[in-house]
Assembly symmetry: C2
Homo-oligomer: 114 residues x 2
DNA sequence: TAAACATATCGCATTAAGACGATAATAAGG
DNA sequence: CCTTATTATCGTCTTAATGCGATATGTTTA
């Protein structure tokens, strides 16, 4: 009965994570909660754009938010989301390692870190 | 050249997973490899559309492919991808549980099934 | 209650994603 | 070679996502 909902939520979570700005926002919020006024100066995008991205993460239940006076404070709702991202990274890392094994490590990996 | 950092690969993987058809394709390929000619009849989309989705998964290094005569056979490259999906589901499931705890299960889950 | 802040939302322009039919490419069988 | 089978790619259309300025909403402070 909740089966369908899990599938829908799964899709919503994955879509929410499929944008580089939103991944950076999660990174920025790892550790401590932040008000929008702290987030804005850290990102080279308009206020409306950031607000929208934050809302997408909120709607996907990845972020929590609460108001404190005139500030809105966002925080990670479920830290397991970082486990998820780490798992993605480990898959990505293995892909790079596989390249290395087949001898094509040089041109790819030297240019690529940072 | 085609340089890939972990961050870029991370994004590519997450984008590749952010489409419902592609998630179904992965599910269909779990367990055994399949040729395109087997995949096509299982999905109500055009051949060109399926081919394109398969290629996106291949480009993200999520699928492997090889040719066998005139067939192209796709398979899961790294089964860890299913671990990833299970983790997403567990996060989604926890979201549903949290709703239940706070008593807001009704309006959401009733509206969301179908 | 007016002014100042902080954030969300609206409207619109631009870009990217998805779908599909048509066509190209390649291998196998005659 | 020529034909058929199988899959990939192209061109195009439609729809969805992103970005931004402008404006609305709500809160605090004077």
């Amino acid at each position: 009965m909740t089966e369908k909902s899990v599938l829908q939520l799964r899709a919503k979570i994955l879509v929410a994570l499929s944008d580089p700005i939103r991944l950076e926002l999660l990174d920025f919020l790892s550790g401590k909660e932040r008000c929008v006024c702290e987030i804005l100066p850290a990102f080279p995008r308009s206020q409306s754009t950031i607000s929208k991205h934050l809302n997408i993460l909120y709607e996907a239940d990845i972020l929590d938010r609460r108001m404190d006076g005139k500030r809105t404070i966002y925080s990670i709702k479920d830290p397991q989301i970082f486990e998820l991202i780490r798992l993605v990274d480990s898959i990505a890392f293995r892909q790079i390692s596989d390249l290395a094994e087949t001898g094509r490590i040089l041109e790819r990996s030297l240019n690529n870190r940072s």
